[in-house]
C-alpha cells in the first residue's frame, strides 16, 4: 500500500538519508574544516547564561573560563547558528511530511509523565557524557568517523555499546 506522503508516516529511504547526511557533513568539512555538532551549542548557551548571571563565577571557574574570550560572546559560536539551522530544517521536513504535532511519544507500557522524567534524566546524562567525550553523537562520533579520529570512533563504540546494554535494562520504557 502506498503511503500518503503527508500523513506523517512517510520517511525517506535510510540509505538515501545517509548519503545526504554524509554530503552535508562532507560539505561542512570542505567549507569550515570542522564537522557538525549539537551538544556544543548547548554548552555555549550554558556558558553564556552563567556568564550573564554570574560573570565573576564564570571567569573563576576552571571550565567556563576555557570558553570565554573578551571580545567574542560564546553565543556567537558556529554551532549555535548551526543548531538554529537544525531546528529550521527539521521544522521544514516536519511541515512537508505532516508531522507537526504537540505530543509526548511513549510506549503504551508507561505513562507520559514517566516518559518525560526518563527523557529529562537521559538528556542530563547525555549532557554530562558529552563534556567528558568533548562532543556527542554528532560532534564526536559522526564527525569523528568521517576523519577517522581515534577519539571519535572509540567514543562512538562506547555510546552504542553501552546503549545496547542499558536499552535492554530499560526495555520497559520502549517496548
Amino acid at each position: 500500500m502506498e503511503h500518503n506522503k503527508r500523513d506523517g508516516s512517510f520517511y525517506i529511504n535510510p540509505y538515501l538519508g545517509g548519503v545526504l547526511l554524509g554530503l552535508v557533513l562532507f560539505a561542512t568539512y570542505y567549507v569550515t574544516g570542522r564537522g557538525l555538532g549539537a551538544s556544543g551549542a548547548v554548552k555555549s548557551t550554558v556558558v553564556t547564561t552563567v556568564h550573564t548571571v554570574a560573570p565573576q563565577h564564570a571567569h573563576n571557574s576552571g571550565y567556563y573560563s576555557q570558553f570565554l574570550s573578551d571580545d567574542i560572546s560564546p553565543m556567537s559560536n558556529w554551532l549555535v547558528f548551526e543548531v538554529l539551522g537544525v531546528l529550521a530544517g527539521a521544522f521544514l521536513s516536519g511541515t512537508l511530511y505532516g508531522r507537526l504535532k504537540f505530543k509526548t511519544e511513549h510506549s503504551p507500557k508507561i505513562t507520559g509523565r514517566r516518559r518525560l522524567i526518563a527523557a529529562a534524566a537521559g538528556g542530563m546524562l547525555f549532557g554530562i557524557g558529552s563534556q567528558f567525550a568533548r562532543g556527542c553523537t554528532s560532534g564526536a562520533a559522526l564527525s569523528g568517523m568521517a576523519v577517522l579520529s581515534a577519539s571519535g570512533i572509540i567514543t562512538m563504540m562506547a555510546i552504542f555499546g553501552s546503549a545496547y546494554l542499558f536499552a535492554w535494562i530499560f526495555k520497559k520504557l520502549w517496548i
Partner: protein
Amino acid sequence: MTGPLIPMEIIPEAWNNVIALLLGMGFGFVLEASGFSSSRKIMGTFFGYDFVVLRVFFTAAITAMSGIIYFDFMGWMDASMLYINPYYVTSAIAGGVIMGFGFALGGFCPGTSFCGVAIGKFDAMFFSAGLFLGILLFSEMYPLFAGIYNSENLGDIKIYEMLGMKRNLFAFLLIVAAVGMFYGAAFVEKKVTKVEY
C-alpha cells in the same frame, strides 16, 4: 578551490554564521525526514525492530569519509587541516558510556532531540532541558572531574595510526564492515516482531 575554504581564507570568516545556518538546515532536514524526531523509531536499532539509525549513521560516515579521502587524493582539499578531536583515553570512553546510558533512558541524542523539539515533541523538549542541566552540572562540578577530563591525552591521533594501518586500507575495511552490518540488520529485522509506534 582547495579546501577547507574558511581555514584557507578563501571564504571570509564573516560568512561563517550564514554557512552554519544553511548547513544546519540540511542536517536538520535529513535527520527529521529519516525519522530521527521519533525516539521510538531511534530505539528500534537497540531492539532490532527498526535499524534506521544504524543505516543512516554508517552510510553518512562512510560517505563523508570517502569524500574527504577522494578530495584529499585529488588535491582539492588538504585533509591534514581538518580538525581532529584530541583523544583523552579515559575521558572519551567514560563520556561515551555515560552518553549510552542517557541514550537508553532518553531515546534521543542532542541533535535528534532538537529535531523532535522542532516538530513539537514534549519528550524531546524535556531531553533538551536535561542536556542544559547536565552540562551545567558538569561545569559546576568540574574540579571533581578535571583529573579524568585532562588525563591521558594522545592528541589528534587517528584510528588507523593507532592500529598501525594505512589510511585507505582502514577506510576500505570500514566500508566492508558497514555493508556487512546493513545485511545483518536486514536479517535481524525480518526475525524480530514488529513494534507499532
